[in-house]
Structures are given as structure tokens and as C-alpha cells.
Symmetry: D2
Subunit: 406 residues, 4 copies
Amino acid sequence: MNLSNAIFIPGPTNLPERIRRAIDLPTVDHRSPNFASDLKAIFRQVQNILKTDNGQIFIFPATGTGGWEAAIANTLSRGDRVLACRHGVFSEKWIHLCQHFGLEVDVIECDWRGPANPDLIEAKLRSDPRGEIKAVLVTHNETATGVRSDISAVRQAIDSAGHSAMLFVDGVSSIASMDFEMDTWGVDIAVAGSQKGFMLPAGLAILGVSQKAIASGATADLPRFFFDFRQMMQTTSSGGFPYTPPMQLLAGLNESCKILLEEGLDAVASRHFFIAEGVRRAADAWNLEVCAHDRSFASDTVTTIFVPEGRDSNQLTLHLHQKYQMSFGVGLGQFAGQVFRIGHLGQLSIPNMLAGLATIEMAMRDLDYPINAGVGVAAAQEWYRIPISVKPAAGLLSECGVISDE
Amino acid sequence: MNLSNAIFIPGPTNLPERIRRAIDLPTVDHRSPNFASDLKAIFRQVQNILKTDNGQIFIFPATGTGGWEAAIANTLSRGDRVLACRHGVFSEKWIHLCQHFGLEVDVIECDWRGPANPDLIEAKLRSDPRGEIKAVLVTHNETATGVRSDISAVRQAIDSAGHSAMLFVDGVSSIASMDFEMDTWGVDIAVAGSQKGFMLPAGLAILGVSQKAIASGATADLPRFFFDFRQMMQTTSSGGFPYTPPMQLLAGLNESCKILLEEGLDAVASRHFFIAEGVRRAADAWNLEVCAHDRSFASDTVTTIFVPEGRDSNQLTLHLHQKYQMSFGVGLGQFAGQVFRIGHLGQLSIPNMLAGLATIEMAMRDLDYPINAGVGVAAAQEWYRIPISVKPAAGLLSECGVISDE
Amino acid sequence: MNLSNAIFIPGPTNLPERIRRAIDLPTVDHRSPNFASDLKAIFRQVQNILKTDNGQIFIFPATGTGGWEAAIANTLSRGDRVLACRHGVFSEKWIHLCQHFGLEVDVIECDWRGPANPDLIEAKLRSDPRGEIKAVLVTHNETATGVRSDISAVRQAIDSAGHSAMLFVDGVSSIASMDFEMDTWGVDIAVAGSQKGFMLPAGLAILGVSQKAIASGATADLPRFFFDFRQMMQTTSSGGFPYTPPMQLLAGLNESCKILLEEGLDAVASRHFFIAEGVRRAADAWNLEVCAHDRSFASDTVTTIFVPEGRDSNQLTLHLHQKYQMSFGVGLGQFAGQVFRIGHLGQLSIPNMLAGLATIEMAMRDLDYPINAGVGVAAAQEWYRIPISVKPAAGLLSECGVISDE
Amino acid sequence: MNLSNAIFIPGPTNLPERIRRAIDLPTVDHRSPNFASDLKAIFRQVQNILKTDNGQIFIFPATGTGGWEAAIANTLSRGDRVLACRHGVFSEKWIHLCQHFGLEVDVIECDWRGPANPDLIEAKLRSDPRGEIKAVLVTHNETATGVRSDISAVRQAIDSAGHSAMLFVDGVSSIASMDFEMDTWGVDIAVAGSQKGFMLPAGLAILGVSQKAIASGATADLPRFFFDFRQMMQTTSSGGFPYTPPMQLLAGLNESCKILLEEGLDAVASRHFFIAEGVRRAADAWNLEVCAHDRSFASDTVTTIFVPEGRDSNQLTLHLHQKYQMSFGVGLGQFAGQVFRIGHLGQLSIPNMLAGLATIEMAMRDLDYPINAGVGVAAAQEWYRIPISVKPAAGLLSECGVISDE
């Protein structure tokens, strides 16, 4: 019997009913005139979600990795230098991608339990007076560690250094869930994926690209065809698509944008903070360490939690899967076996989140963790039931009155 | 945003994915030869679920109330006497129906916190030496009170009295969830509805009818046409239906029977006991009274719980609905305002059930009930996480090893 | 492989995508406040579709047959006389139902290839000066013969006779497809079913009941409980339902009404005339006789066509089903084996209809009917492709410019 | 009102009900052990469909264009020479892609109304004694022209020339519809897309890759990351995926493969020939020219038809779309405005196909084409209704007894 528990991996998220229905679309003729106007409407909504006025939107039938590739292949040339922080497996993977494309990557090694380091970025840029570094790559939310980086601070670092490098941001697990301000933060390329905050299945790489980044394509010599910005701009501007468009996911994206904009981006971010804070309080009640050293950088879409020393976190996640049919994220990279990750982005009701916490508790007690039944749940309950105005730790949200809006 | 919490009313139940898909059927020609064989297969499966070899199955596009009506209209005549226990609003409603049809109902008033009383039934039947009482009506599971009656004991009472009355059982909220043995218990008519243990939307009245009850139709003079057993038997036996059949719900019923029989009826009953027992333990931890005086008669499909004296249970259920978007059953009849009801039949995972209990706790704390956060959840967790062999209170199930089977 | 041909039985109809989605609804709490307002909105829309201001709407989880039963059980008493025309198996069945309930039915035998006869009705009523006849029963559209009756003329007959009998109309296969005017025609009870013009699965009996008919219930002594108007009015007026409501079909009905009212009832009727006329022209091109003697009474929802003498129409429909997986209606009653029926109500595009006609042609040629390939299709094509203003035979529709509206 | 006509573009195809359901999947944990075994089963089935024993299967969340890119980026180096025939817009596009990646393309210009020319290929290869040409690129089925190429003959040409070039085949609009034999024909890379014969939405590039082609990757220096074979092989062989896999489309592909293999690849090909031949006979009856000069190379998935001289084919397709809500393919490239294309691949019943042909006829008569109503339909009907054994023009299929299997 399908017990249909919510899923607690940090993406893909649980699919809201409205989105499943939007995706479950009979075949549509993509050369009909309707497609052109639909696509324009989707682009406009994605602009709103990225908070950009003039950023050009690109949507490829791919994943976030494809988005990373599109970002660099359309703007850079073989041998170009880029600067990137490594503090988790996803920031690391983007570095590898650049290396595969023949770029020279200046890697700043950061603490995996902290954010990208703006000071080191500034220092590095200052040491490049000739402006050889073409782009700074930052992972907004490291899905592996549950640590958020401060993109605004990175922008300030670049500006303080007086450097002209473009700012490329991996927002795959932050955009459409946490606060993201493409124009205000001066982001040149923002990369998102359909299966995180947009609450869709995987299959779309979504990018916001500044005019500066587009202009850089004129001289970029890295080869691209499937991910070519020029071909995509040309066909979509005349109502077409360079190849058969993924109509079902585009219909889903349209619905997703509507859902998000109906709720309001601030409310969406508040809701994610609110849910996440309950999880962090449960972790505290369990006496387990949250990965983010500085709680003000803790992610609102995924919480990475250390198991007690000497324990294997894979045993816990496997037990949760086998006995309780519930999925959580495993530890990745240098934290493999040491942490488990609770994804809490997209559609998740408070009762769903409590079900997840209660089930972790049962599993930990099954495995003789030194934890009393109900303690984490109780800590979360007490947080969740008081929807008074709360000041999120990150200082980004002025108020959190979410329950009444749900 | 649809947060899609599970629903905790005692029917209709949450719809399993497999059943939603089976129901979502394009139009089918009901005069095609396939229909005849499909219907036969459904009848056979329903026989298995009712545990009857020769009981004739009837399925009407109606609800359980229609099933009550079909039961009496096809077997009795104006002025006939029937015997019935009143111990909840649903047993009461069947009595009213009989009265509307001009039957004389001998009502045995029972404690609403207990089951139908076999001793009083036996005594009443002994006082009818001429056999004027044509049928004994019993509600197997009073959905209003969460009290199960012992049908086997009622059968023994009838037999001890040496009486020839037929035994009609309302099994709407028990069949396909709790143990039900039509042949062993000598049930002449069993009435079920699609929206309870069968986990379908409302819209089907499902009956098992003994040959004795069918034979009684020859002299029954109550009028019937839509609910006529004769017309239904005649048309379905030749592969038809007396009117347009509800194909979608029949397809759903077919799937539902498959799901139930794949799991096994004993496992289904064990699972319901297992889930229910966790709820009862939570109630105990909350120091709230379960309606059923005798725990061995507590229902495994719905738990009726008294709020502390002086409190209005409607305030609690309304608060749960408005603040947490979660639905529970309200008090009915003489218990209106005094109890709330937790439906836990059909598809409900352990995490789902814990979500329900955690949410009740939050609501009770919001309303200043003298309850600590997490205590009910903890009691349930400790029960749910130990899937060792357990002896259900009802004595019906020898073992309960459900988690590994799910 | 499911080739998903359209279905051409006269109900249930093909399910429009929008309706399938509306029906595919997760479980909803029927005791929540939303239900009351939703139900009221549905009632209002059904009133619009029946064209009644004060007619009370009743919706039972049943079929049209249940609607027939509800109509008489709530208004009449054992031994009452009713007047009915018999000119097809469905008018005949309603007569049987009345007889099962102990009513005395004055049956007017009419030509099965024509409508109910207003002159004979008037004559019969004139011969009842004491007003013993309580109701006149008319089948608006005989689904077996494809003949429409003129309800307005029947009303005039009753009025001319100066008789007080109520007018009960079976509109199961006409309402929501063909013109129906409850108030203008003075209909006291209109019976509809979900699976015809409303394009839903079977499972709802839908009635419009005049205040006069409701008032007649005060003295009506036929037993009723499941179909009781009083209980239904009482519970629905206070936001409830007498038993678990069929939420999924109600949601579907809501959507269906929206679809119909968005298109406009006149446009709906025009569209049905337009599609039907193409079918009749195909029949003419095939040199086959349409059942309706007088073409102005030909139904716009189903066309009944005689096969050439000496042929068995069941062979044709079986061949269509087995070789081409396409369903058409068989002959019923005295026309069994002599006619086949093409249902063309609800959602059917012109291409779909042409597919049906082309397939019949192939089947007829397979069986050596004296017919050339393409002739029926060509006749229909030439009709369908000219969406100029057309005067429907029935004189009900002033114009038919449907294609541009689709 | 959604009239839900079938769609007649040459992909994406109409979505079979079974596939829509398979795709409409709740979120699944892609790191669970089930994923690994599911993926293996899919790979095996795709191997069966490509008819390859040792060809490695790759599935990327992309489109056929991504498949073209993956094919060359994983096997070739900047400056490598490849040989390709240009005889339609899709063969042309692959050539452009190669040029974007810095390959030197030897283009053989072929007649757009004919296939790739094996003789010219052989001649070209013979003129390359040093083996500088690394790969021959052939489009199996030019979707723009409806002309099939003979891949077996191309293989023979390569072998006759004694050349070691790899053979890359674009089978996007042929694979899973028409006969395709990867191993027998010595295909090194076969590229397919989800939205054609697999009857899925666009979103998957599916490749079969020979061991020789994989080995060539060791020295290939074109950059790739998203489309990297090595990373894909490494992760999938250990049960993972290099990024979030498109679970819904993979579930759909699994179902699609089941459907195809249940029917049998020969039956699938026969069915496509059978449907296509009816379309060609209709074109003949209309006195319109089919694009393929040599009927034995006419595609069985799409038929490209010339409108009479002096007419604009775009007017016809636009009229079909606007008046009849039916979609057909437009002319592309040098045939823009001169041809329309009827896609007839994937799920299409005979009645559906006749509906398409009947509708084209109406549109052509609306536009005063010199055509009689019904003539094309009649020609197709007479073909479709005789399911005797037929010898397909292409000589590939021994028998065509498809109707009885459908």
C-alpha cells in the first residue's frame, strides 16, 4: 500500500496537486501561436521571481547542471580565469565543470560549515589588477551543507575591489524559496532548477542573465549549441523554440510561478524560514549539531545535522527508508556518513514537517540514540503553534505571520 | 497553497493514489461484453471481503443509507416488526428509516458508550414466541461513538432464543477495515459503503445478502424499484445493469478489493488495530476519556474522545480546521460539543497519524488545555515503533506485525 | 494499445478533460463550511440550466431511474392515478416503476417512431373531470428511438383540458443538450442524470421540482427515505447533506455547469443540432431510414437508424466494437436487431463525429451493405464545413454559427 | 470547449493514457536503491528497441538536439572531419551543430525529395584514404521531407569503401516507430528523442552507443560535462545519476518501452506502415504529390504533401488550426509554404486518422482546392478496412495483420 509520506530530500520536492495537474497536459502543438504568448508570460513571471527587470530569462530542457554549463559556455573562452569558493560538493562540482571546459579556476577553499567568504574573494580580486578573472562563481545555498552564502556581500566585495568580473550565482536550491534579488545584488547569471523551489519535477534549467553577461557572449569561444543563448533568444523572440520545447514542464512552471506570486515572494521566504526554524529547534532539543556553524547562515531549504560521533548517518537514513518509508538526504562529500539532511523546501505543511520529525525520533530511538520520544516534536510544536511576528535570524524577513496565510 | 494534510474524519477516507487512478477512467461502454465479466469479478472479490460463500452481492449507485433502505425494502412488508438497538446517531437513523417505511420497530435503548446488548436482544426475542419480529438490526461499528458491537454474540443471542429473525448488520464503518465474517456470524444482510474501508468516494451502497434474505423478498410488499434486488439480480446475471452503472466507482471498487486482498484481510484488520491503539495511547497520555467504556469494544476505525468538562469540542475541531487546515470528526447527537472523533481508517501511514496527533496537541495547547506538548505523540511513537507481536484487545487478531508488510 | 476512440453511445458521454480533472479530487471534509456554499452555487447553476427561477434543485447520489423514483415517491400516494405515453423502452420503464409503487397508470400507446401525443393526452385528461389523474409523465427525448417530444405542446394540452395534473418530464437525455425550459413549459418535475448532457459519469440524479410538486409531498404517503425531498431540503438548507455526499461528482457537476453556461445554453443546443444534422445527412446518403418519422421531432442527442431489412443490427454494432473498437448504441425493445443508435451528445468535435461516420461506413462495407465508401462522410463534411446561419428543423434555434465559437 | 482532436504533427505525438498516468508520478527519492534497478531495466528495454546487444544506453534530460551534441562531443576532437548528407532541415541542423563545435564537415548535397545517397558517401570515403573522416552522419528519417534513408545501405557503403569512420544516425523520428537495427546495421551512435515513437513529452535524449564509439571518447577533446558519457556511465553503473534525474519521464519511458515491446517491434512497424499507406492513398486520391519521389523511401511516421502550385500551404494549416482546431506540420526550409506534413506516428487509431483526412478535405474544399468531398477518406477507408496480409513497400515487413492486434 502506498502510504504516501511526504519526502524530505532537498529536492526534488513534493509536487503540489496544482502542479501535477498542470503538468499532466495532453500534447499541444508547439508551433501554434499560443505558444509564443505563453512563453512570454512565463519569462515575465520568472523575472518577477528573480527580481530582475532587464535580466533575460532562458529555460532549457535540462537540469541545474545544464544551467551551470550554459552560464559559462555562453560567456567565456577557453583559458579564461574564474574565481570560485569550494565549501561543499555542489560548489565543487561547478568548479569541475569549468575545468572540463578548459577554464582556469582560482579556487578559494572555505570552511564546509560556513558560507562563501567575501573577504577572501575581495582579496583575490585585488590581486588581479589586470582583470583576468572574468567571473566569480558562488553557490547561494550549499545543498550539501545547508549553509547559505551572502550574495550581497560578495557583490560588495567585487565592487570594493573595483573589479569588473561578472557574478555568477548557483541559486538552484535557494531561488523561489529563499530571498533572492538578482538586480539589487548585481547578479550577472542566476541559475535555478525546476525541481527545487519551483516544486516541479527535474527537467528545466532556468537562468536569469544580465545584459552584461549576454554581451560577453559576442567574444566567448567556448562551443555550445544545445545551450546556445543566441539561438534560444532568436527563436523564442519570434515565438518559437530551437527544438521541441518541454511543454508539460513549461505548463507546470507557469502554474508554479502563479502559485508563488499569488502567495508573494516575501511570504514564501517567511514560510520557509518558519518551517526551517522548527527543524533547527528540534535538532537543538535532540542535542545534535546543525552543520552551519553560524546559525544566521543556516539554510531555510535544507538542514544538515550531525549524528553523534561514532554513529553512521547512513544507517539512520536507511532505517528511515526501510522501516518507515520516509526519505531524507544523506551526507555528501567530506560529510558522508556523518550527517543527514532534512529537506524542507516547497510544499510542506506544518503537520507534514512534524510527521517527519516524529519519524526521525522513532528511528533514532530504534537505533538507541540517547534521545527521548517526543522532545524534538515538542520543541517544533511550540514554535509552530505561535504564529506571532518573528524576526528571522538572517535578518532578511521583517515579519513572519505565515500560518494565517496558508 | 494546498498543503494536503491527511484527513481524519471517519469517512470518506483519504483516497489512495492507486484508487484515484482507477477511478479516473475515460468513458466505457457499459453494454460491452467486458462489463459482465468485470462485474462478476468484483462480486467475487466483495464476497471474499465479506467472508461469504453464498451471499449474493448487490452494488447500488447510492450510499450506505441507500443500502439500509435496500435491505428492508426487499425483505419486509408494511407493518412487519423489527428489533433494533439505539446507541448512537447511526443506529438511530436506521430506526427512523424503518419507521418511514411503515415498519414497527422494537427499540432497545443501550448505553451510547457501549455496544449493542446481546442479552437484551435475546430477552426481547424470547418474548416473541410467535416470531413476529422479522429482523434484528445491529450497527457493527457506531461511527458516532467509536464503539464496536459483537455481531457474533448477537447471532448467538438469536440462536439461543431459538428465533428465526434475520440478522441485518450495518457494517458501513467496519467492513474492509475491521474483522467481519458474514457467514460465520450468520449475517443475513451486511451493508457497506464505498467511502469507508473501501477507500473510495461516496457513491456505492454495497450489500451482501443471504439466500434466506433473498427468499424473503418473494412475499415482501414494500415498494422498491431503484433498489430492487430482483431486477438487479436479473440484469447483472445476464451481464447488464438495470440502469447506467457507475463505471468509474466500479473500477475503483475493483482496485480497492485488489489492494485489500493483496494485503490480506487479517493484515488489514491488524493494521487498523495497530494505528488505532496508538491513538488510544495518545488519548490516555492526554488524560482524556475515550468514549468506549470498555476498551475491548473500542473501534479500530474511529476513536471518539471527550474533551475536559466545560469545554466545547466544536471549538477544538473548528480551530484545527481554521488554523491548521486539518479535519476531524465532530460530536454527533447526545455527544455534540462534548467529543471529537479521530477517523483512522483506510490509508494512513504512521507518520500521517503522528502528524494528526501532533496537530491536535498544538490546537489543545493553543486553547489552553492542560496538556504538555509532545506527550501524546511520544506515547504513540513508542507504540508505533515496536512492531513486535501484539495481542489486540479485541482478541480477534493473533499477531500484529504490520510495519514490515506495509 | 488504447486507441482511445470517441464513444458514440447515447450516454454516458465522452468525458471532457476539464471534467475528468474536476472529478479527480482528493477527499474533502463534507462537514466543512465550504461545502454549504459550494452546494448552493451548484443549485443556482442547475436552475439556470433548467431555466427555472423557483424550481427547487435536488441532487441524489443515484441515476436517472432514482430520479424517476424520487419524483413519484415524494408527490404521490398509493393508488393515485398517473397518465403516461409509451413509445419507447424508457417511457415504458417509468410506467413499470409507477406500477411497482402501487400507482394506477393510464397508458397511452403511441407510435414508437413518433413523440408523445398531446392530443391523446388532452382527450384522456378531459375524460377525468374529477381530477383523479395526479400527474402526466412524459419522456422528453426517447433515448431508444431518438424521438423528441414537444413538452410545450403537452403543457398546452393539460391547460386546454383545464386539468390540474402535474407535469413530470424525463429529461435525462435532453437536458443540458437540447432546449429545455422548465418554467416556460410549466414542468413540475424535471429529471436529469449526470451522464448525459452534463458529461459526467453516471451517479447523480438531478431534479428540478416546482413549488406545487413540493407542496404535494405534504399528503403523499408513498414511503421514501433515501430519496426523501423533505430531509434533503432540510439538511442542504443548513449546509449539510442527509448522508455522505458524492463530493467528486458534485465537483464535476460544478465544472460541467460552468462549461455549459460559459458556452451558453443556446450555443449548446445549436451545437447539438449542428452535429446531429450531419449524422442525419449521412444516414440519408446511405439510404437508411432514421427512426423518427417526422424529421422535425428527430432527437439532437441520439440518432436511431434502421439497417436494411433482413439484416441484424447487432451484427453491425458487434463488428464495430470488435474490429474497430468503436461503441454505438444497440436497438432496444421492439427495435432490437433492427436499428443501431449513434449517440452524439456532450463533447464531440466535428472530426470525432466524422471518424464515427467513416467507421460505420467501413463496417457496413465489411458486411456487404450496398453502400459506397465515403458517401456518408462526404454528406456530413459538406454540412459541417459550412457554418453559415442555418434554420434548425425544430424551429427552436434561430441561427447556428457554432464553429466559430468552439 | 476542449474538443480534444488528435494532433497530426510529426512529434510530439498524442500521449497514450497509460503513458500520461505513468508520468503523473509523485516525487520519488532518486537516491533510493529502487532507482538503480529501475534504470537498469529501462536501459535493457531501450537496448531491445534499438536491437542492440552491447550498445550502451544513455539517457539525458534534454531533447534530440542534445542527443546530437552528446554524440559528437563525446567522440570527436576540435578539427575532426565528419561526413554528412544534407537533404532536409534536420540533417542541416546537425551539420550546423558540428560546425559550432569546430568540426570540419564534408557536406554531400542530396535531393531533398530523396534519401541520403550511399553511393556519394562511398565515393567520398574512398577519396579519404588516410581515414581523416571520423564519422558519417545520417538522418534516418528526415522529418521535414518525410523521406526515409536506407541505413543498411550506408553501412554497406562504408564497408565497401573499407573505411573506419563511425556511423552516427539521427533516428529521432524513426526509432520506436519504423524498423531500426542498431547492431545489424553497424550503427555506432543512434540518437532518439522521447517525443516521437516513444510517445512521451519532449525532455529525454536517448542514445545507443557502440563500444567503438565509447572507446573513441578516450582521445576526444571536445568539452562536455552535462552530456559527458564518462560521468553518466560511472554514476549510473553504481545506481546513481550525475544530477537529479527526470524521474517522471523515466517512469514514462519505462511504460512506453513496455507498451512497445508488448505489441512487438515488428507489429509496431507494420502498424505505422499500415496507417501511413492509407494517408498516401488519400494523397493520391486528392491528386496531390507526396514529397518522397520514390515511394519505397516514403516515411511511415510523417507524410509530406505538396499543395497545388500557386497555393500557400501555410494558409491551409492555419485554416485547419483556426476553423477545425486541428494541428498539422508546416513546410520547413526550402519547402516552406509548399508542403504540409501529416504526422502519423505513435498512438493513432484508424478512426482518428480518418478524422484527420476528412478534416483536411473540408479545409481544402473551404479553400476551393479542386477536390471532391470524401474521396481521400474513401481511398483510405478501403485500405484500412482490409486487414489482409500486405507487403509493405519498403520490403521490411513480411506481413501486416495489424487490426486484429490493436
